[in-house]
């Protein structure tokens, strides 16, 4: 950050902080303006088995590769080839009404089968032999955000995806706790004594971040209307995250990006029970979330992207589970999709890569680039490092 901008920002932040009812100084009108687009990310951590999520129910190769693991009962057939896992029934109406687009075979060249590394690749939008230290959403907000609360993650810890070169979002699984922590009278006194100019060195940066944390915590707390979400959600941690997101969106918070996560998909053994439970949690929670947004007329300005760091091996293993694979499906949910339903066909189950995994034919970075240009209306340049062709799902 150059010096002028630094002083301007910190002066603004500190003056806001010391106005007694300073929250009023914020004008959340921008958020309420028509066409304020929001993006909600859902990360299925652990590597969701895409083949048992969107099932090729007419394909012998699928059944042969998974004698004990293939889903045979209760498949919700969506067309002649593909169908939902039974747990996804709450998403049926979204699919039928053109609010869900399923992109098959999403991945990247030379796929990495380590959870951590592949998650980093997805979060930073890097290639598999490139190490980036900032995330794609963070870089988006480097260019198009100015307050930490422009990006909120429903967790205790901020994911790499939400860290830019300069920008950092806010992570909180309970915004009231964050507010109460930040409100400690001791911190307030410390800052009261420091309304002079902050230095540009590291210590100044610490004070500036402290001020931003306080003002962000207050901004979120004061502007969130708990009653804005009346929908009943299922009882699980993921649903709780989405309910908070709905409250923030319906309250008109000036937040562009929300990040949520559901973990436990690393099903090396006894996969069916685990995945059935997790996909139910996912589908029921998403369904409640979309209803909540619709009731508040915020659905049309919200796009929900669901991804996992990789799919799983086509062939099941000896423990009735699956090992780490490669390409996987991605779900995009929104009101005005250009191409709803299946965006593309499932890749061939006979033409697998050397590890016996699905080959990708849609680069995940082209999904990101499309969301940036067609949904958030910004150029992907400087955010997605490699040139990607735009897709036409939105």
């Amino acid at each position: 950050m150059d010096r002028r901008k630094f002083i301007k920002n910190s002066a603004l932040a500190s003056s806001l902080f010391f106005v007694p009812n300073f929250v009023k100084a914020f004008e959340p009108v921008t958020a309420k303006q028509l066409g304020y687009k929001r993006l909600v990310i859902v990360q299925l951590a652990g590597g969701n088995d895409g083949l048992n999520t969107i099932i090729p129910h007419n394909n012998d190769l699928y059944y042969n590769a998974r004698p004990q693991l293939a889903i045979t009962k209760g498949i919700i057939k969506l067309n002649d080839d593909l169908g939902f896992h039974p747990s996804l029934s709450p998403l049926r109406s979204l699919f039928d009404n053109g609010k869900l687009s399923i992109i098959n075979n999403v991945g990247y060249p030379n796929p990495v089968r380590s959870h951590f590394r592949s998650m980093d690749i997805w979060q930073t939008a890097s290639s598999s032999n490139e190490y980036l230290q900032s995330g794609w959403l963070g870089r988006y907000l480097d260019q198009h955000g100015d307050k930490p609360y422009n990006a909120l993650e429903m967790d205790e810890q901020l994911s790499l995806a939400m860290k830019g070169e300069h920008f950092n979002g806010i992570a909180t699984n309970d915004y009231k706790v964050l507010y109460n922590t930040a409100k400690d009278p001791y911190f307030k006194k410390v800052l009261n004594y420091n309304d002079a100019h902050l230095s540009e060195h590291n210590l100044g940066y610490l004070y500036q971040t402290m001020i931003e944390a306080e003002s962000s915590a207050s901004y979120i707390f004061e502007n969130t209307n708990v009653k804005s979400s009346q929908e009943s959600y299922p009882q699980n941690g993921f649903a709780k995250q989405l309910k908070s997101v709905a409250q923030f969106i319906n309250s008109g918070l000036d937040t562009k990006v929300f990040y949520t996560s559901l973990g436990g998909f690393d099903t090396h053994a006894s996969q069916n029970n685990k995945q059935t439970k997790l996909l139910s949690q996912y589908a029921e929670s998403i369904s409640a979330f979309v209803k909540d947004l619709k009731r508040n007329n915020t659905f049309e300005d919200t796009l929900i992207l669901t991804f996992s760091e990789f799919g799983r091996r086509v062939k099941q293993n000896a423990a009735n589970g699956t090992d780490h694979g490669a390409a996987n499906n991605v779900f995009v949910i929104g009101k005005n999709l250009k191409k709803a339903g299946f965006y593309n066909d499932l890749a061939s189950l006979s033409d697998l890569d050397g590890n016996g995994d699905l080959k990708y034919n849609v680069d995940f970075r082209s999904v990101y680039a499309t969301i940036l240009s067609s949904w958030l209306n910004v150029s992907a340049e400087g955010i997605i490092p490699s040139k990607q062709k735009a897709l036409n799902f939105i």
Binding site: F116, N180, N202
Partner: protein, 453 residues
């Protein structure tokens, strides 16, 4: 040396200075620095209980997937034990500089494995070479089982070369980005083919998959081995400059000073002896310049260990230690990627600053920073959480009182904080009551200034 310089030195080679030790230290710089190196002559490797691997053979793993799975689970649990053992060593060690350098090298030769035997072995290799000969060090790293796994050295074979290690060797470990061509990477990868390890993690060279053909690397042609490649890389002075710059940013100031780094590189290039380089740094006048004192943002580990060394605590649940590391953004043995933790400003975001400002009071004083002030809030919190704090520790204030007994409460800030305070904060501190040294200590630790070292 004056107190401020001493504290500065001890923050950089360790985790701060116990004021009770002031008087027992030698008087001049040379003697003090000599003593620091003397204390780090020995090496104390980490040794956790790994008996769960006793008698296990390759055959067991291959033939019995259930055993293999159980061992993997145990190994991951043991990694937590290794993490605690390392933290414990950082708190209690006499080999201050060796341990601080080990921490530095762990974020230079970045590596992460779930195999706890390999992880411990790798960690001890960092410790062994921490102050030794850099050339030997790099060669040892290239042969570590953990590294062969992490950067796919095992998959690097004559007919299917894997360039991962060769690339990072130059980009991250020795020269820095843009100092080599893609062709150099390809050719050097060939020299490392055949590197492998046995079941126990000892290095094994597999001649059958080694590419014995001629390689052309950095303009030289020959039937190079992996060690030859490392020798050739280190002939480039850029390597000495690259390492010196990194050491400068870590031990002196995150803002590089070209002149000082160049002077360091001249020393280092002579023999690549790490101890000589560090002696040069710690004996330089510029090391003690005002602009370097308190200029660094503590890493989460420096912050945590420093706090525990000032006020000793016992963690009642070891897993709280993992929780704290995670919240602060640095879990030992679990780096984010091969580039390691970015450090400096990247440690601090809105979340981590709040955790850092709040943690001392939560750990040491029942979440009270300033008594009588946030009682309402605390009551609500305790009611909601059945009277429990998120972290369970026993605090040893007696040792603190003993160590700080000769310090006037009015001067405590000069011992707890490093470098200059913000003007406003200095004024604010004057208004605080100093009747309780303990409470004042917690208040000082709850300041942005406490994040600096």
């Amino acid at each position: 040396m004056i107190q401020q310089e001493l504290q500065h030195l001890y923050w950089r080679v360790g985790f701060g200075l116990n004021p009770a030790n002031f008087n027992s230290l030698p008087k001049n710089r040379q003697q003090i620095v000599d003593a620091i190196f003397d204390n780090s002559k020995s090496t104390s490797p980490l040794k956790i209980d790994l008996s769960f691997m006793n008698g296990v053979t390759v055959k067991d793993l291959k033939e019995n997937p259930k055993i293999a799975r159980e061992l993997r689970v145990t190994s991951r649990k043991k990694l937590a034990d290794l993490n605690y053992a390392w933290l414990n060593q950082l708190v209690n060690t006499k080999e201050l500089l060796r341990e601080k350098m080990t921490l530095f090298w762990a974020n230079h030769f970045v590596c992460k494995v779930n195999h706890v035997v390999f992880a411990q072995k790798f960690n001890n290799t960092l410790r062994t070479h921490a102050l030794g000969d850099f050339k030997t060090f790099v060669k040892a790293i290239s042969k570590e089982a953990a590294m062969l796994k992490y950067l796919n050295g095992k998959q690097n074979k004559k007919n299917q070369p894997n360039e991962n290690f060769a690339r990072e060797l130059m980009e991250l470990f020795t020269l820095g980005e843009g100092q080599y061509s893609e062709k150099d990477i390809k050719e050097s990868a060939r020299a490392f083919t055949g590197y492998n390890h046995d079941f126990d993690g000892n290095f094994r060279f597999k001649m059958k998959v080694h590419d014995q053909g001629e390689k052309t690397f950095f303009g030289k042609t020959g039937n190079f081995s992996g060690d030859d490649i490392i020798d050739i890389i280190l002939e480039d002075k850029q390597c000495a400059t690259y390492i010196s710059a990194k050491i400068y940013r870590y031990f002196v100031n995150p803002k590089p000073n070209k002149k000082h780094i160049e002077a360091m590189a001249n020393v280092f290039y002579k023999d690549y002896n790490i101890e000589n380089l560090m002696r040069f740094v710690l004996l330089s006048d510029w090391f003690y310049d005002d602009e370097n004192i308190g200029a660094k943002i503590k890493s989460p580990i420096e912050y945590l260990i420093g706090m525990v060394k000032t006020v000793p605590v016992k963690f009642e649940r070891e897993k709280d230690l993992l929780k704290i590391q995670k919240l602060l953004g640095q879990t030992l043995l679990n780096p984010p990627n091969v580039a390691g933790w970015k450090g400096d400003k990247a440690w601090i975001d809105a979340n981590t600053i709040m955790v850092r400002l709040k943690l001392p009071s939560v750990m040491l004083n029942n979440a009270v920073i300033s008594s009588g002030e946030n009682d309402e809030l605390r009551k609500k919190y305790f009611k909601k959480n059945k009277g429990k704090l998120p972290i369970k520790v026993t605090v040893d204030w007696n040792t603190f009182s003993e160590n700080y007994k000769n310090i006037n409460p009015e001067n405590l800030q000069d011992y707890i904080l490093q470098g200059n305070s913000n003007k406003g904060t200095a004024d604010f501190l004057k208004t605080l009551s100093k009747t309780s040294k303990q409470e004042y200590c917690v208040q000082l630790m709850s300041l942005p200034e406490y994040q600096m070292c």
